[in-house]
């Protein structure tokens, strides 16, 4: 298992993955520095970090995180789709299941790296704007880890789609079709909690109830994120077992 992971890592390292990982913090910086919610909330007595986090997380979690997860998934299958790479890879003494799991694990590690870089950009925005209040660490960790957990099912579906289609555009189109409606879904109390693509937003939303481990209740986390993960991961896993290479 370890050798498959390191082989995947070597292939990915040369796939122009670094600029894509840095897209996350760049977007974070951009939104953080351009948002001017402060001017409307000056007379309110709230920690300025919350205001920045609120506007940064909105765009980042709603659109960027689900979309970039799909790009990473396509990127990790790119070598195999070019000139019969699947044949060469699967001719090695590896099982298809392990290859699938290794690819999935590697994407999730990259997503974590991007979330941590995003955390750095939150710090940077605060430094540039000169916030004096202490950074609410607990809230930030909840939002960083929570956002990461919420992408588990999305990455599984995108990996499935990326293995199925040769081109980048087709899995991306699937991703867009599901991601855009979440802009409407988060406004609805009835659809929002059950829409998997809206989960990164709910998990990163800093205004929510802070007693739970994450910002969403456990049953919603388990059913929507956990259920979605099982469905998409098993779907992709079984599809890959039967795929003709």
């Amino acid at each position: 298992m370890w050798s498959i992971l390191s082989a995947e890592w070597f292939k990915l390292r040369k796939s122009k993955m670094v600029p894509i990982i840095f897209a996350g913090p760049i977007i974070g910086l951009f939104i953080g520095l351009t948002s001017n919610l402060e001017s409307n909330t000056q007379d309110l007595d709230v920690n300025p970090w919350y205001i920045s986090l609120f506007s940064m997380n909105l765009t980042y979690a709603l659109l960027f995180l689900p979309l970039i997860a799909g790009v990473l998934a396509s990127l990790i299958c790119r070598y195999e789709h070019q000139s019969g790479g699947w044949k060469q890879l699967l001719a090695l003494p590896v099982t298809r299941g392990k290859v699938f799991i290794a690819k999935y694990v590697l994407i999730m590690i990259l997503m974590m790296a991007m979330q941590l870089l995003y955390l750095c950009s939150i710090f940077a925005v605060g430094m540039i704007k000169g916030y004096t209040d202490p950074l609410p660490m607990e809230i930030v960790w909840k939002s960083i880890i929570g956002g990461w957990v919420a992408t588990l099912p999305l990455v599984a579906l995108q990996l499935w789609m990326s293995i199925m289609f040769k081109s980048f555009a087709a899995p991306f189109a699937v991703n867009v079709i599901f991601t855009l409606p979440s802009i409407l879904a988060i406004n609805s109390k009835t659809i929002g909690p059950y829409y998997p693509w809206a989960q990164p937003f709910s998990m990163m939303y800093v205004g929510g109830n802070t007693d739970d481990v994450f910002f969403v209740p456990w049953d919603q986390l388990l059913t929507v994120v956990g259920g979605g993960f099982l469905l998409f991961f098993l779907g992709g896993y079984l599809y890959f077992q039967r795929k003709a290479v």
Partner: protein
């Protein structure tokens, strides 16, 4: 020559899902409003005296996002048709100039997007009439909200086609497209010179026509730059 290239490009995009996506974009934009108005119709009708105007604004809140992502998807699709089988080489080896090859790709995309805008106009009108928003149907406004974003998005089309056709790794144009949609989503804070703001039809003079004019002129400029760069590059 361009006629034959266009025919061959239209043949190449058959059965690849491009026509489907072209229709799905505008239908999806209106379908989101169908859900929106289906769930909370009474609330939305109370929001404004001008029901048609408010409805058009609601539709238009998704149009720029759909156009930008649609452009990223379609350009990447067109480029990967040639990339996947290393067909650029064979295509360029034919007795055609590289400039016309590029022009034909751009024309195909422009036609697909124009079709998208037309479907958007018809769907907006049809659902608006179904909602019974009032007797004075603003035909001109509906046409404006369908075609103005199209013309304002031409620079993005030129830019994305340029990046997609010169990059072998399609992850790069797709990531640029994601940046574009983030910019479009936060277009109210963007300065007026950013091309991703233009499809939202917002500017400091409150004159959507300026965005159309800018879109067409900068679109042509970016198209020429992209075409020249494409022609100068080696085909691998």
């Amino acid at each position: 020559m361009i006629g034959k290239l266009l025919t061959s490009d239209f043949l190449k995009i058959k059965r690849k899902g491009l026509w489907f996506l072209t229709a799905l974009g505008p239908i999806g934009v209106v379908a989101l409003q169908m859900v929106n108005y289906g769930v909370r119709r009474d609330y939305l009708l109370e929001q404004s005296e001008d029901d048609w105007g408010y409805y058009l604004l609601n539709v238009h809140s998704f149009t720029p996002l759909a156009i930008i992502l649609g452009i990223a998807i379609l350009t990447s699709f067109i480029a990967s048709i040639e990339n996947e089988t290393n067909a650029w080489k064979q295509l360029i080896a034919l007795p055609v100039s590289k400039l016309t090859v590029y022009l034909s790709k751009f024309t195909v995309l422009a036609i697909l997007l124009f079709l998208s805008s037309t479907i958007l106009m018809l769907m907006t009108l049809a659902y608006g009439v179904y909602l019974d928003l009032g007797d004075s149907i603003p035909y001109m406004e509906i046409a404006k909200f369908a075609y103005y974003p199209y013309f304002a998005a031409l620079p993005i089309l030129a830019l994305q086609l340029w990046i997609a056709s010169v990059c072998h790794n399609q992850g790069i144009p797709i990531t640029v497209g994601i940046f574009g949609v983030i910019f479009a989503y936060s277009s109210f804070v963007l300065p007026d010179w950013m091309i991703w703001k233009w499809p939202s039809l917002m500017n400091q003079w409150d004159e959507p026509v300026i965005n159309v004019m800018l879109g067409i002129s900068v679109g042509i400029l970016l198209y020429i730059i992209g075409m020249i760069d494409f022609a100068r590059r080696d085909v691998k």
